[in-house]
Symmetry: C2
Subunit: 391 residues, 2 copies
């Protein structure tokens, strides 16, 4: 298997009610990635695309085929992946294998979503299709409820009083907004305080409004190439050195293991083993913070803290730039936004820019970062993990 | 790249209003494929799954994750592909690469669909999401209209009077029903006459009811393995010797080329080149006959007839068992049924069984068949081609 690198990146502004279609958003991000790689659309040999709700939000399925034609990648193979919020990371992992195996030299991968067009109540119901629709959704379980239950379980299992946990969780959101302000692509451009989080209206106890990421529209894209080609295109290729993916079934099938997600532990182990790296080797991480509690749960399974102890990372500032493991210094899903089919590509975009040292001007560069980790959670149990390295 | 083989197959009955869920249908087909391969669920290293409408028809996205858990393939990577009606063939092509590259030795691939639960009028509108939803669907274009326009174009371009063309198209449907009767999995189990086709009610001129495939529920699955593993599991491995995929954009972007689909010609060339085979080497073919006219258009681009001449194949019986190129002797989409996300896997299932010589008892075995071709069309422009060989 050949080494594979990311050579170009593109990212739209994440926002509420974008005037652009899902195809247009991804076309914008894709052309930025292609042009930024010094390539032309005709150089792209295949397209891998994450999209979850195009059918529901715009009446447009098979979005990748229209994208390919619109940007001038005529008649290339173009595939859509759906693994809920992990769709685009799934597409990246797949693109990795097609290039690593020697089948293609240069491919485009990205994700796009219009998640706000349908309005918030319908969006919550629609998102719930990516939990178990047979037994669990009919019981009234939407994702705020899933993560609220995980927060209660977390509190109980690790013996952390709920009020104390809520204060820690507030710190997660506060940090995300602080960095979101520095990210021009972020949906939210204002700082918030712990007090604002704790005074917010209750969404699903104990999670309040500012514990929850927003619905968003947006897209992100990457050009992926074989090492040989990458070295000709850029002096800063960012290698994909580890990939992992695993799935769980419905939440009720996981009850003994929760609030830990076994799929995450399986997936990230694959990525660590493949890259020969350990959690302490990671310089910067983008993890799936759809709700504040999700950050703590993820940080532990990724190996950055003992189980039940991740809150201390945020309390001590270890997740900030300059800390032990900077996490979501893009603003994360919470502040940058969460256009679900695009999120994995956006996370990888952020890590690539960090490893290329391109975020100094934005005041959120992790100095000397060489290795980054991407963690995406789809629904209640699909995990994709990527390890990216500057060399 | 290693050689890759299909070692086991599973297929549910295709039907209207199945009482089973999409996950249950695919679980049934998958377990048949796994058991038939002499394997256990724990032997499956990854799952690749086609599904198009799970969200709409059952409120269930990310169907692959629940399947994996339900059949005991715990925590494996499971990906869903959406390329409209070509979703499952897209999944097979992807599974091929993951095994050929040495990443996995044994994977499960399949597709499932519940396309009838929503009722016919909504189904037609829902299917139309897989044509261009921005400009074309708002003009009133559903798929019957797309293929009706292609029939008119075909008539005009090749100077075949419409009434004559309709008689030829009727033969396509008549043959499909004749073989469908012999296929226990087929949705329709009755023969029809040319007169019945021509007397049917008009759906979209010139296409009448019996020119159109039905909406269907069903699933199909295959176990795919590396050559080494395959030889240990079966004395009849069926090798995937050629794969191809290509996409077009919206129909209006293809206007100069229609009724030919450039994507099909690009895709099947990839498969022929990769396998080193030509159209005349194909012993049996399953092609995408969503409408009778689609069969003629496909047969020409696949190389079985000159452009404008495919009708003669059906008129002369060359598409029958014993003819030059037996086509859709499963009953095809027309009579076997068309559960869209499952269709590609069903086509591959049929070819595998032909190449293994397993259809003698059903009275539709193509004697001595060694090489087969699968052609699937998704929406108005995604094509996946597979060439399967008995050695």
């Amino acid at each position: 298997m050949r080494r594979v690198a990311i050579v170009g990146t593109g990212h739209t502004k994440f926002m509420f009610n974008s005037p652009k279609s899902g195809v247009e958003l991804l076309a914008e991000a894709s052309m930025d990635a292609i042009n930024g790689s010094g390539l032309k659309p005709k150089d792209i040999q295949a397209i891998y695309c994450g999209n979850v709700l195009g059918d529901f939000s715009e009446g447009q399925g098979m979005i990748q085929s229209y994208l390919a034609d619109d940007i001038g990648c005529f008649n290339v193979p173009a595939s859509r992946f759906e693994g809920a919020c992990a769709s685009a990371t799934m597409a990246i992992r797949d693109a990795y294998t097609w290039v690593a195996s020697g089948f293609y030299d240069i491919v485009l991968v990205g994700g796009t979503e219009k998640a706000t067009a349908m309005g918030t109540p319908l969006a919550t119901r629609t998102f719930a299709m990516f939990s178990d629709g047979r037994y669990e959704y009919p019981s009234g379980i939407t994702f705020p409820a899933v993560f609220a239950m995980l927060a209660h379980l977390y509190s109980k299992r690790y013996n952390i009083p709920l009020e104390k946990l809520k204060e820690t969780l507030a710190l997660v959101s506060v940090q995300s907004h602080e960095y979101g302000v520095k990210n021009p692509n972020a949906q939210f451009q204002k700082e918030i305080t712990t007090e604002q989080v704790l005074r917010g209206f209750m969404v699903s106890s104990p999670l309040q409004l500012l514990d929850c990421c927003p619905f968003s529209d947006g897209a992100a894209a990457l050009v992926v190439a074989s090492e040989d080609v990458a070295k000709k295109l850029t002096d800063k290729p960012i290698y994909i050195t580890g990939v992992g993916q695993a799935s769980s079934g419905k939440l009720s099938a996981q009850y003994k293991y929760l609030p830990r997600l076994r799929a995450r532990e399986v997936s990230v182990k694959q990525a660590y083993d493949m890259s020969g790296l350990k959690p302490e080797d990671i310089d910067v991480c983008e993890l799936h913070d759809c709700f504040s509690i999700a950050s703590l749960i993820a940080a532990e399974s990724l190996g950055f803290a003992e189980f039940g102890k991740a809150g201390e990372l945020w309390e001590k500032g270890e997740t900030r730039i300059g800390g032990k493991i900077p996490i979501n210094v893009s603003g994360g899903l919470k502040s940058k936004g969460h256009p679900i089919g695009a999120t994995g590509a956006s996370q990888a975009y952020e890590i690539v820019r960090q490893l290329r040292g391109e975020l100094v001007d934005q005041g959120r560069q992790v100095e000397g970062a060489k290795v980054g980790l991407v963690d995406t959670l789809g629904g209640d149990g699909v995990i994709v993990s990527l390890i990216l390295s500057a060399d």
